[in-house]
């Protein structure tokens, strides 16, 4: 493992060198929040931030994405036949992505990259993306990454981890793609291996100590799906929910989408748009029947999916990286930490006794 020292004086010039080789994305402060945005020439990411308002998932999974195009003009030979379109999958770099968000891509990849089917849009975009992580030295109070299989210095899903030392970054190279990125930027100063390792270890420990909130997930796997599904606590959990899609749209690991056709005059597109299990339309049958017709059912679906169905399907943890966005964004303060603990500690036998 190689460590490079990036003097912050050389930060802008390095990014300048990268511009053109990569499309650069990074956090930028609009008037209120930090948002992830494509950086123009000379534009610098603002790395003095806690996390972006929404997750970076839209970089590989845009909220609206055209899939095919077609013509409805019957005088054209290929009318009504759907055709693939060219897309820009040139290399892109996410600069300053938080480790939790980078880890989320790995969870989501399981959905889009299956043995039977590969989602070409998600995969092409993901493969074109390199993740330049920024370690969290000051995690916020709603972060619970360390108990969600992740952490403020977590490396899975990253090509490069930047650790802010004040005057400089230590860049830990994690993949050959990360190494190319560093070369392309022209940052050459190798850091003393042992010293860098030690510094990062210490900073990591300090950051992890600052994580103040946790979820318990150890019992989720052993619980019966049917018991949790039929548990009496859902009415109380769901009561405040207004069934907006904020939690799902903000979440880095929510991947559901809808497919729609849109036509303008005689040309049309087939597109996909983010969708949300919070919406009644999500499961509404053509006949008018809806298997998830009530708010309680829809709220239960969201939490059961993240905290039980996913756990059972893949067997190695929850579908959540602990970024805390849903907690920060929910207009009515439904808190996944609370729900996770209720589910984890639920005992269906004690229910029978009381």
């Amino acid at each position: 493992m190689k460590y490079i020292n990036i003097d912050k004086k050389n930060w802008a010039s390095g990014l300048e060198n990268l511009y053109g080789n990569y499309r650069l994305f990074g956090p930028v402060k609009n008037n209120k929040h930090h948002v992830l945005k494509e950086l123009g020439k000379g534009e610098l990411p603002d790395l003095n931030y806690i996390n972006t308002l929404l997750s970076p998932k839209s970089i590989v999974f845009p909220q609206s994405e055209t899939m095919f195009e077609y013509s409805l003009d019957e005088s054209k030979e290929d009318h009504h036949i759907l055709k693939e379109i060219n897309k820009d999958y040139s290399p892109r770099a996410l600069i300053g992505i938080r480790p939790c968000d980078a880890a989320s891509f790995l969870l989501v990849k399981r959905n889009f990259d299956t043995p039977e089917y590969k989602d070409p849009y998600w995969l092409s975009a993901y493969e074109a993306t390199i993740c330049i992580g920024l370690a969290c030295s000051n995690p916020c109070s709603t972060c619970f990454c360390t108990s969600a299989g992740c952490g403020p210095f977590h490396e899975d899903g990253l090509d490069l981890l930047l650790v802010d030392e004040g005057e400089n970054f230590i860049a830990k190279i994690l993949t050959p793609r990360g190494e190319n990125f560093i070369k392309s930027a022209g940052w050459k100063t190798e850091a003393d291996h042992m010293a860098a390792k030690k510094t990062i270890k210490n900073m990591k420990m300090k950051a992890e100590e600052k994580i103040a909130s946790f979820v318990s997930t150890d019992q989720l796997k052993n619980k019966s799906t049917i018991d949790l599904y039929g548990a009496p606590f859902w009415e109380k959990i769901a009561f405040a929910c207004i069934n907006c899609g904020t939690c799902t749209y903000g979440c880095p690991t929510c991947w559901c989408f809808d497919i729609q056709d849109e036509v303008s005059k005689s040309s049309g597109i087939r597109m996909r748009n983010w969708d949300s299990c919070m919406y009644p339309l999500f499961t509404l049958h053509g006949t008018g029947y809806n298997p998830r017709n009530t708010k309680v059912q829809r709220v239960r679906q969201r939490f059961m999916h993240k905290l039980k169905y996913y756990v059972d399907k893949y067997g190695d943890g929850i579908q959540c990286v602990g970024c805390g966005r849903c907690i920060r964004l929910c207009p009515v303060n439904i808190d996944i930490r609370r729900v996770c603990d209720i589910m984890n500690n639920y005992d269906s036998r004690s229910r029978l006794e009381t």
């Binding site: 095919f68 036949i81 759907l82 039977e116 590969k118 799906t225 056709d261 087939r270 509404l284």
Partner: protein, 280 residues
């Protein structure tokens, strides 16, 4: 990378109105590119997304059998946006087909007695299964075949010519029924599917599988009958319906518990369903 969202272009070769209420039409489709037919290698019980440019897609069970070459058949009930549009189309129009989708259970059924129980317009994939099993090359792979198929009235039965032909054969036991009729010439059963099942279906045993496809109310009342007849839950096979979009287990909407109906189903044994939330 093969794009699993891209439909194969097909031409509507023929449209047959199946039922007296004209709400069910069968579309016979021919691939525009002959190579695509080979790629679309399917088994009875699977479904496909029919794609209408400008409207969208709709998941429909495949009504034709892989033993029928040169075309695909889909019987479509007029319900929503896409199906209504399909019903207004004519022979020669171009649509798309994406699939085949979903799993099938023919490895399990090989060498067994097969009891097919169908109601209403859900008979489509069951037609596919029957044609498949009756094919001279396949018939010896199955023991007895029973079919209990009901509709509201004689005019609401699908594939009436084929039903009549199957009635005359001795390698399949047909039990056609209607809820009621005032046709004096009606020579088959009158009664609901659960009742006819109780009277006509063979008793359950380890060599006999029941395949059920129909409206929820029919399934609800047929299941206790099968229990009574001694069918164990892993010998009862059902097909579920869900709102679907991608059809390949990715878009996320058709789950029941950890299973996606489009990819892990739409066929499930009752034993499997017993361990899943009742959210369908």
């Amino acid at each position: 990378m093969q794009n699993p969202y891209l439909p194969y272009p097909v031409r509507i070769d023929e449209i047959i109105t199946e039922t007296e209420d004209k709400n069910l039409k069968t579309f016979k489709l021919v691939f525009l590119n002959p190579d695509d037919e080979e790629k679309f290698s399917y088994m009875p019980g699977q479904f496909a997304e029919l794609s209408v440019a400008g409207m969208g897609e709709i998941p429909i069970g495949i009504a034709s059998s892989p033993t029928e070459k040169g075309f695909l058949k889909f019987t479509v009930n007029k319900v929503g946006l896409v199906t209504t549009c399909l019903h207004s189309m004519k022979a020669g129009d171009i649509i798309g087909v994406r699939g085949p989708l979903g799993r099938h259970i023919w490895d399990t059924l090989k060498g067994k007695n097969v009891v097919i129980i169908g109601g209403g317009f859900a008979f489509t994939t069951l037609r596919s299964s029957i044609i498949y099993m009756l094919d001279p090359l396949n018939r010896m792979n199955f023991k007895e075949i029973h079919v209990i198929y009901g509709a509201r009235s004689p005019g609401m039965l699908l594939y009436r010519d084929e039903l009549a032909e199957w009635e005359t054969r001795d390698d399949i036991n047909m039990h056609i029924t209607v809820d009621g009729t005032d046709d004096p010439d009606w020579k088959y059963n009158v009664g609901f599917v659960p009742t006819i099942t109780e009277q006509k279906a063979p008793p359950g045993n380890s060599d006999t599988y029941a395949l059920i496809c129909g409206p929820p109310i029919m399934i609800k009342f047929t299941q206790p009958v099968l229990d009574k007849l001694g069918y164990t839950h892993n010998h009862i096979i059902m097909s579920l319906e869900m709102r679907m979009k991608c059809g390949i287990g990715i878009c996320g909407r058709c789950n029941i518990g950890k299973k996606y109906v489009c990819k892990d189903g739409p066929i499930f044994t009752l034993a499997e369903l017993d361990n899943m939330p009742k959210e369908y």
